[in-house]
């Protein structure tokens, strides 16, 4: 069963809030000092959505395997890397999102190595060190909050998966964007 509820009380209150004081004046024609003349005024201001995101780094190098013995019997290796910290100042609720510029890393192969389009989903991100989710070109929320003079420091961690049969030698780079938005 569904129903709608008329909100009469709230409608009345809103009408009051929306009213605007008209021009007012008063004048006194009396020698009595106790007579008061009061004119009320209305002050107004507009406060914009003020939000600031501070990120403490520009790059991070992901921990990579340093020897073939790092890989397990299936040829896989996983590492955890400490990423940047960020903080938000905001006078309203906010969201912080993360996304990648491309679906794969940009690979500069080492001499003699083949190129490899390493998927960005090989990297997972976490803001609590426990729950990780794969990076993607689709912006995903990693933090949110309400108005704050300065949010607590949020630390980003990455978990990177390597496969000895796929990850060709060379350097891999990836652009990652942190976005601050209103909800």
């Amino acid at each position: 069963m569904k129903r709608s509820i008329q909100l009469l009380a709230l409608s009345a209150a809103l009408t009051g809030v929306g009213s605007v004081a008209g021009a007012q004046s008063c004048s006194i024609a009396s020698t009595n000092n106790s007579v008061n003349c009061t004119v009320s005024t209305t002050l107004s201001t507009t406060v914009a959505s003020l939000m600031n995101l501070t990120l403490n780094g520009t790059t991070v190098t992901l921990v990579a395997p340093s020897a073939v013995t790092d890989f397990n019997a299936s040829g896989l290796f996983s590492s955890t890397t400490t990423g940047p910290n960020f903080q938000v100042k905001s006078n309203r609720s906010y969201r912080v999102q993360v996304s990648t510029d491309a679906a794969t890393f940009s690979h500069t192969p080492a001499t003699g190595a083949a190129s490899y389009a390493k998927p960005v989903a090989n990297v997972q991100i976490s803001t609590d060190g426990t729950n990780f989710s794969a990076l993607s070109t689709v912006a995903a929320d990693i933090a949110s909050g309400s108005a704050t003079a300065l949010s607590t420091v949020t630390s980003v961690n990455y978990k990177t998966a390597y496969d000895i049969t796929k990850d060709q030698p060379g350097s891999y780079t990836l652009g990652v964007t942190f976005t601050l938005i209103a909800p």
């Binding site: 790059t59 940047p84 964007t177």
Partner: protein, 273 residues
Amino acid sequence: MILSLRLSQSLLRVRLIRAAAAGLVLGLTPSAARAQVSVDALELAFALSSPVAAMAPQEFHVTNDGAARTQVTINLQDWDRSETGENRYAPPGTLPQSCRAHVKVFPTVLQLEAGASAAVRVWLDDAAAVSSGCYTILFVETPKPPPSSANSGLRYSLRYGVKVYVEQQGQPTAELFDATVSPLRGSSVLSLELGYRNVGARQTIARGVVEVRRPDNTVATTIPIAEFYTLPGATRRLSAALPPLPRGTYVLLAMIDFGGAEIAAAQVQAEIR
């Protein structure tokens, strides 16, 4: 010969992987301070009147809070929200409610000295063409550090999303079209699942409460529903997990205040065993 070739490749791989490990040390050293920017508005609203009239341009300001000169670019994209409230972005002009053809921005590239601010002007070139409303988002973005072949890893950039709402004036309207009780995935905890739809021409900013009522109509407990945003025509799925309750029959009454003349409400019966 073949064996020799394979061995060479194997050695090459080990050597290069170790080189990457050396790069790791470089990457963990503190990076240089970077330019940080801020903006003074993340939402701009153009209220369409009837009959449609030309609207004054609006502005927001970008400030370079860093210690070095920086470049800022402004790019327009479409956006909407998923049924779970996540903001989604799409190339300009691809979503039905796109403002791409009618929202203009100037400038789109800023060069800001340390501490400097600049205004960005946003206007509608033809309000009559968007009489039913439209939406866009302006990404204010700082550049990523230049790529270096010596470093493997991730390069960061910051951006702010300035949402532009072009909407009709008037009361928002919305409804609850679904209310069911079901266990949360992978859990024995029961949850009230709600379907909410914005049937008006303006975004709704809503919040609500679920009252858990006993058969005698007394309130056993209440569950708040946090503020959520829904664009016109969009639906939103809400979930309110029920706290532990004594066995019995309850009525769950959900009420959503979306800022309109009415409150959207729905009720469903739940049996706690």
